[in-house]
Symmetry: C2
Subunit: 370 residues, 2 copies
């Protein structure tokens, strides 16, 4: 028996007169899925029907509804937890999942980030400043071209170079080959720079494929991996990181439009299920998150609930060297800045190296508050 | 090299003057993720940049945009296919994934329904009419109470009784116990009715849990299973059904609000990834799908693309005995009607049995067109 309740916050579009009935329906939908009059036993009524904590106006025609659901309904099962949070009501367009508080006993089952911000700082040796990262793309580069790009990026002094999340096990650039040459490229660059860039390969596929890629990556010496939890499915993601023994960067692909508030999905659920660093589309890029949403994601990652290690926010998407200072002003030192497209705009390696160095220097030179 | 392209249809909110640029950005976002000017090699430009097939107005301020993307981008990988279809652009609120056509070589990798409508008809022995189904709920019933409910439902002559999708491995009603007593209950009822109801247990959790439950269910004699593909993750779902050897009913939980059109997600992707029957919230219930959307889901399942077996539409949610005829008029004989809450409204077993029999008789008596 898990004592504490699961606290769930929804934004519900409703008219005031119908609000009570809408809340009652939402409350029952997520566990018993029947009206109270159809609940046959006292045990069900007492143990599987949650309760309303509060409902308050949240803008025109919207209410912020806070429910307590019995933790037992989740049965210590990551998929069933998602079911209780947003199973059936994800099908109802008047409901958005906004936030959740998971009781400690369930947090222990899921584990949260195993390495988190501290583990990634230890791994990269970066203290007192934000981390810098870029990305290997586009899809379609050969093994040799990928290696050359990786070496150039590493020579610029970036802390992290990650695969694009669309790099799979393509015939023209097989997974194991790519990992091998990129690790070699970062080792080679380190002989020049004196500091090794962390190369983070992308794992993607069904569980058997991802587990095989993880095994290969470890054998080749990769020290962290990238996955997209919503593509893989959150329950597999959780099982996977439990056995991985490496930090995991989480990519938001396939997850942004789930009608879960970005701070709820990327800021709470991703780390709860085990992400050590979470990539998200930063404000001002080619995606749509506002500055407030991005700040809320970062806050949730940097200052998580008790029992969950802080994880690293990784603002990305459309960022430019020119706005590094404003981004750092928003997120502070405990962040990893991921700049991709704007660095890779020019196919010329000289230009690329110079731009990357400018980016790295801007992040290093920023006056972080202690 | 896969020759045929992946055809993807999006609904895009855009102003006419900006449409060309928006389409170009969407096209590049889903594979190379860089502007054309940054594409370094001819190989990338020729093999990983898709093309616009058509763009036509689709209501006020919206366009239906049909793209061809290179099948090679998906690398024969179910997760990477989702990435190409709706990875990054799922984060962009002006885009909805509406439909897709998958080239035959990729369809063969994914497999589609292994049993489909024909397999479920063979398993249940039902020909020439729609199938009838109901559900074991609410969560919180003990093993004995679940068995009693299952027996009552089976005595009414229903073709299928399924677990609620929220039934996990709860301590008060453990998975294996539940499956054992429900199979016994349907066998017992069959001695009275002369026909065995198919009991379909719900499997839920991370892959290790789901695989263990599937093994237990098979050993106990279960002949079909229920899962929620979006909770499990579509790539695991696909890997799972490939090895299962049993028909799979797919539940839509956690998937409805993905900003994929319901007919695209439930009507195309679910069967492509292996669902043999697909449950969806029918029009008029406590969910929001319109009659047209429900008809489109059913059409996609009943008349799939070449190489994909027909799968059974399972309209559910808020249906009542009184509107069976209108539902059958819409979907015809190749459907399974799932009635839950309205049958279970009364906790009295006598009333329940009578109501179920009325439902079963209404489905049997409907004048199906040959």
């Amino acid at each position: 028996m898990i004592e504490d309740d699961i606290e769930v916050v929804y934004r519900v579009r409703a008219e005031s007169p119908g609000l009570d009935a809408r809340i009652e329906a939402l409350l029952l939908e997520q566990t018993v899925e029947l009206g109270r009059e159809a609940l046959r036993t006292a045990y069900v009524r007492e143990h599987f029907v949650g309760r309303l904590i509060s409902a308050e106006p949240a803008g025109a025609g919207e209410f912020r509804v806070r429910l307590a659901q019995p933790a037992d309904a989740a049965a210590g099962n990551p998929a069933q937890l998602l079911n209780v949070l947003f199973g059936n009501c994800s099908l109802q367009p008047d409901v958005e999942l906004e936030d959740m508080r998971i009781p400690p006993a369930l947090v222990r089952v899921l584990g949260g980030p195993r390495f988190g911000t501290e583990g990634l700082r230890r791994l990269t040796g970066v203290r007192g400043r934000a981390l810098t990262a870029s990305v290997l793309k586009p899809m379609g580069l050969s093994v040799a071209e990928t290696a050359a790009l990786c070496r150039t990026l590493a020579l610029s002094g970036l802390d992290v170079v990650k695969d694009d999340h669309g790099l799979a096990d393509h015939s023209y650039c097989p997974f194991a080959e790519r990992v091998r040459v990129c690790l070699a490229a970062t080792a080679d660059a380190a002989r020049t720079t004196g500091r090794r860039t962390l190369y983070v390969p992308n794992l993607i596929g069904s569980p058997a494929t991802v587990l095989r890629q993880a095994r290969e990556a470890k054998e080749l010496g990769a020290e962290a991996v990238l996955v997209a939890p919503m593509l893989l499915g959150l329950p597999f993601f959780n099982e996977f990181v439990l056995g991985l023994g490496r930090p995991v960067l989480a990519h938001p692909a396939f997850g942004g439009a789930q009608r879960i508030a970005p701070a709820g999905l990327l800021g709470r659920l991703f780390p709860l299920f085990g992400a050590d660093a979470v990539i998200y589309p930063n404000a001002g890029g080619r995606f749509s998150y506002s500055r407030d949403v991005c700040a809320a994601i970062a806050r949730a990652l940097q200052a998580p609930a008790a029992g969950i290690a802080p994880a690293l926010p990784v603002p990305a998407g459309g960022m430019r060297v020119e706005n590094v200072a404003s981004v750092l002003g928003c997120f502070g030192a405990d962040a990893m800045l991921l700049v991709g497209g704007s660095l890779l705009e020019s196919p010329d390696p000289e230009t690329l190296l110079r731009r990357c160095r400018e980016f790295v220097e801007a992040v290093h030179a920023f006056p972080y508050r202690p």
